[in-house]
């Protein structure tokens, strides 16, 4: 597909940790909640398994499926928004998380894309990721998070 018919963002952060610890941070619901603004993720992290994200009050925001998973290296999530009608209407997107050792750190790349131009979903999710990644980085490097509430709330 031509790049013009697609919306995508690519976010990169370098975290001074190990691939083992970063992978655990990306897949442990208790840990995720600490840097992902109290969101709950339910998944057993196997290929083909369902994936679900909800608010702390139980409202389901996004659902999907694990398309590819290679522990400590890569996962691809089929990601369908459910909460806001205008974003849900855009249909499924794909979120890829890749981990690569980089010296004493791990390079984490998040790519989120959808096969439509000017996607509102991609615009909406792209706003949240820098804070989430910043929290994840400080949590792994210092044990503390920088932002306690979501900037949009």
């Amino acid at each position: 597909m031509n790049a013009a018919n697609r919306s995508r963002f690519v976010y990169v952060t370098f975290i001074r940790t190990t691939p083992e610890k970063l992978w655990a941070a990306l897949t442990d619901p208790q840990f995720i909640r600490q840097y992902w603004f109290d969101m709950t993720i339910e998944c057993d992290w196997k290929k083909g398994s369902p994936w679900k994200m909800s608010h702390s009050d139980g409202t389901v925001t996004d659902v999907g499926e694990i398309l590819e998973i290679e522990p400590q290296r890569r996962m691809v999530i089929h990601w369908q928004h459910e909460w806001k009608p205008e974003l849900k209407a855009e249909g499924p997107s794909r979120c890829t998380m890749e981990l690569e050792p980089a010296g004493s750190a791990v390079k984490l790349t998040i790519t989120h894309e959808i096969d439509r131009p000017e996607s509102k979903l991609i615009a909406a999710v792209s706003g949240g990721w820098p804070s989430i990644l910043s929290n994840l980085k400080s949590l792994l490097e210092t044990g503390e998070i920088a932002l306690v509430s979501h900037p949009r709330h």
């Binding site: 690519v10 952060t13 370098f14 820098p130």
Partner: protein, 108 residues
């Protein structure tokens, strides 16, 4: 050079800030696309992109043989938390208090 030094150095040049603006307007461009709207040589743009990439302000992905450049705002969030957020709260409160005091004086 530390990560923060690389970041501030990358942001210190108007040409590089312009490149970030171009990517903000349209993400995922090739070198050729970026050169079209800028009065810089191709070599100059290449050098600026290399510095932006070193500072992690630009992320790169390959599509076949094409190298696509994406704006990576994650380090800017770190600057915001380290250099803006912690200073803005007390100042905004001071401004707010000043406004209240002046408006109160006006009513007397």
């Amino acid at each position: 050079m530390s990560d923060a030094d690389l970041l501030f150095k990358a942001l210190a040049d108007p040409g590089r800030r312009k490149l970030l603006d171009r990517l903000h307007a349209h993400d995922g461009q090739t070198l050729g696309e970026l050169c079209q709207h800028l009065d810089m040589t191709r070599q100059g743009v290449t050098q600026h992109l290399a510095l932006l990439e070193a500072a992690n302000l630009v992320a790169v992905q390959w599509r076949g043989r094409e190298k696509l450049h994406f704006l990576n705002p994650v380090p800017l969030q770190a600057i915001y938390e380290r250099w803006i957020r912690k200073f803005e709260q007390p100042r905004l409160k001071a401004l707010h208090d000043l406004k209240r005091r002046l408006e109160k004086d006006g009513k007397d």
